[in-house]
Symmetry: C3
Subunit: 359 residues, 3 copies
């Protein structure tokens, strides 16, 4: 539903992008430098490079092709995913780099780029692409651009609160990536869906097509295969103690969790998404709510409850009960930042009428 | 040719899958645990992880997209490949794990999951997907499900006989993966093809389409590129002595073998597959016979004959003649287990009328 | 525009390929052997294998799918890319192996295959696929075959001159891969385009189609993601001193160069390619001129000018001015070899009327 593409691009997208890029470029020249290559540079490369590339495959090929199932929006999905992820990574180098390296309290005057920071920025882009899955087809490229740019500082703030202030255990980025990304996107979609005529799951443009579904299997498979790398990369950039707590699992338990999450997602696609679409007009193009949102709520609760039985060596706090409390707080704060940020962002881009779709 | 999909799923597929999954889940809880992470855990990961992921790409992306060339069965091919491979890997953890870790003679009471076992289970799934290539489009999902589940214990038995009892040299899984998988699938296809009206290469539903052929190049290329990883992974989980015998090659010899195998496959596609289809009604949707079956017979013979000239350091037996004998025996036993198992399995799933295709 | 495929194959392609392959096979038997596996074999594998596979993904999946955008030539693009790259790698083992290992001045009597040589041969194939992008759809398979075969010795000669004789700094293969490949292909295309009726950008067969464009995103993304591996692989096989000079960059400078190159490419696609097509009849199917040619000229100049400010530790010569001189010479010689080689090759394959397209 994006009419008069040429004119739209000239009026909204190109000036927005040019402005954003000039600011990023200026800040890069003023603030960013490569880390000095130390003695153990080759070891660092061997440790992180494969993880880095694997995560890149997931973000750009995985998420990109996952969203190609739409008959009229395949090319747009994979191209905007590419563009948006790259832009978010650049912005995240500035914002996450500054936050993590103590820039705000003047501990550092330059942002150091190393491969660990790039991995972290990839996760931020991943969170953006989860949100993109909720609003794809409902926002114009210009609206999407500003929504993704606005997501990065919120992501950095929330990550800092959850991981460093609340010291929540966040395996696989359940809270920081999935919970945050899903509800940011859903909140934005709630505003965007109600404002436009192309509304509802039964609109023909929302349908898929046979070969497009095959394309989306490219994304599905690469995401699924590289998932261990995603978690491995997360563990390798996370504080030490998180690595060990994953031991407290059994293969049978893992199967159960996977089975349960699969059922929740599938039932959500069949019942919850259409229900929310009919009742409150919440569009959710890729079913982000079922795939990331609800599983992330469950994951946060399960991780918190599992803390109850753990020895304090595996926790960030003295008792499981205390850990559970911070875990719940992290989830609630994430939901609050994501939804209020998404609503606000979408309200602004809609109010400014940033070349809204009009067909 | 799979009519009334909804009803079929409810009557046959879902109960079958639920039953199988409950058994697997129960056995996982009772018998399976993760290996204790030792001192050298990071070394293990560095040694095996890349191979593991590469093999996963081959099984899920490679085989999956290889079979997308069918106009009406692209999505089914890549999706059932995904589903079937994942299920076989779970079952193989139990069956191959138990067999290799001395479970049957009570040497162990728990099955230890480590990355080497997962690689081995990927090969089992690979063998299943070779078989799938022969029967795709001819079996209903329920029939396929049971045929793949039945293949795993036969694979584990045959692998144990060939590698540990007969001590055959099995470079690249020629006997255990390719020979076994191809003839298991062909035997099953012989039964399935004769029982259904959609028969013969000239049926329009068996035709390919232009863009589907491009999709199948995704599979072709990933299989081809990662082939060294497949063999590297095999060598790294195989008994030590196998690694060295591969030295006995020259680049020119390798080119010759490749050229010859390529000619055999291509001629088989042009002449043998149509001939067998016309005469004995043997359906072979992806031409598995030419790509895996005949080359595996040749490979077994060549590996056996090459033993004649080898020093005993490169062999499992004192003389090349002795090695050749065991090599041939391994091939014959594999053919026997594969074909009888495939015929029996297909006869049972057809006799039980497991929601057979009926259009 | 390739009519009567069957007859064409029998008359031109198969005899040509058979002849070429027999010569390669004979030379492999006579001259090529695997390097003795030393003590540090596993270290070598760990250092180079990932790079090697990543580059293979770029050459076969990346370049292959990049060219699938053409409505009528998707399958041909990805298949001929596969075939041509594999053939060029075999030939390059002989030609580059002989050149680098001192075969011509009788320092060696056998060509040793190791993984570093294979990486170098992949780059040669990459250069061939850049050239292929300029002539795709304009040459018959037989013409293409001979043009790619003829490119390999020119590539080896030029590489030797640029890297070892002129000691040019050639980051990312700017000169040896991109500049050479682009102008070889463009020169060949100039001859081929003028000789055939299917001429000009506005011919319907030159149009793209929606799903084909999605396919070409598969290529785009894999090329983009693995680009660091391409440069990493290059650095790891290049003489030592080249590795260090890349330090002389800032993140802001990198962004600027990327932004500038992106603008040059995009403007070239919009204005230069149609202009050259209209005026001198230069066909450039994939816009190789904008993507590789012009950026390579700029890159050569920038690398040369950047030498002016460098300490001699980062240079191959005592002063930046001297380095700049050799840099320019390397570029000019590369342009000369590439264009004269491409013109000559295309003139010969056209004059011999090697089953030229005739519709």
């Amino acid at each position: 539903g994006i009419p008069d593409r040429e004119g739209q691009m000239r009026k909204g997208f190109v000036p927005s992008l040019a402005g954003i890029f000039i600011v990023i470029l200026g800040l890069f020249f003023g603030l960013v430098q490569y880390t000095e290559v130390g003695e153990n540079a080759m070891d660092q490369v061997h440790r992180y490079y494969t993880y880095f590339i694997d995560v890149q495959i997931m973000i750009f090929v995985g998420f990109g092709f996952l969203m190609t199932f739409m008959r009229r929006y395949s090319l747009g999905a994979v191209s905007l995913n590419y563009f948006g992820s790259a832009l978010m990574m650049l912005e995240a180098i500035l914002v996450i780099g500054a936050t993590q390296q103590g820039f705000w309290n003047l501990k550092a005057s330059k942002i150091q780029i190393d491969i660990e920071l790039l991995i972290d920025c990839s996760f931020c882009a991943g969170s953006g692409m989860i949100a993109f899955g909720a609003i794809i087809g409902k926002a114009s490229p210009t609206q999407l651009l500003w929504l993704l740019v606005w997501q990065v500082p919120l992501y950095a703030l929330n990550q800092h609160l959850v991981i460093y202030t609340f010291k929540a255990l966040d395996m696989g980025g359940t809270i920081v990536i999935h919970l945050f990304g899903a509800y940011y996107g859903l909140a934005a979609s709630l505003v965007l869906s109600r404002r436009q005529p192309l509304h509802g799951l039964d609109h023909p443009k929302n349908s898929s097509a046979y070969l497009n579904d095959v394309f989306s299997m490219v994304g599905t498979l690469f995401l699924w295969i590289y998932w261990p790398s995603f978690n491995g990369a997360l563990a390798s950039v996370a504080p030490e103690s998180l690595e060990t707590a994953t031991d407290a699992q059994t293969p049978g338990g893992a199967l159960c969790v996977g089975l349960f999450a699969g059922c929740v997602s599938t039932l959500g696609f069949s019942f919850l998404t259409p229900f929310l679409d009919r009742t409150i007009g919440l569009g959710d193009t890729c079913g982000v709510h079922n795939l990331h949102g609800i599983p992330a709520i469950l994951g946060t609760l399960v991780a918190g409850l599992a803390s109850l039985g753990q020895h304090s060596d595996y926790l960030m706090y003295g008792t499981g009960r205390e850990q559970l409390g911070w875990e719940v707080l992290a989830g609630v704060v994430t939901l609050a930042i994501a939804t209020s940020g998404g609503l606000l962002g979408a309200w602004v881009v809609t109010a400014l009428n940033l070349t809204r779709a009009e067909d």
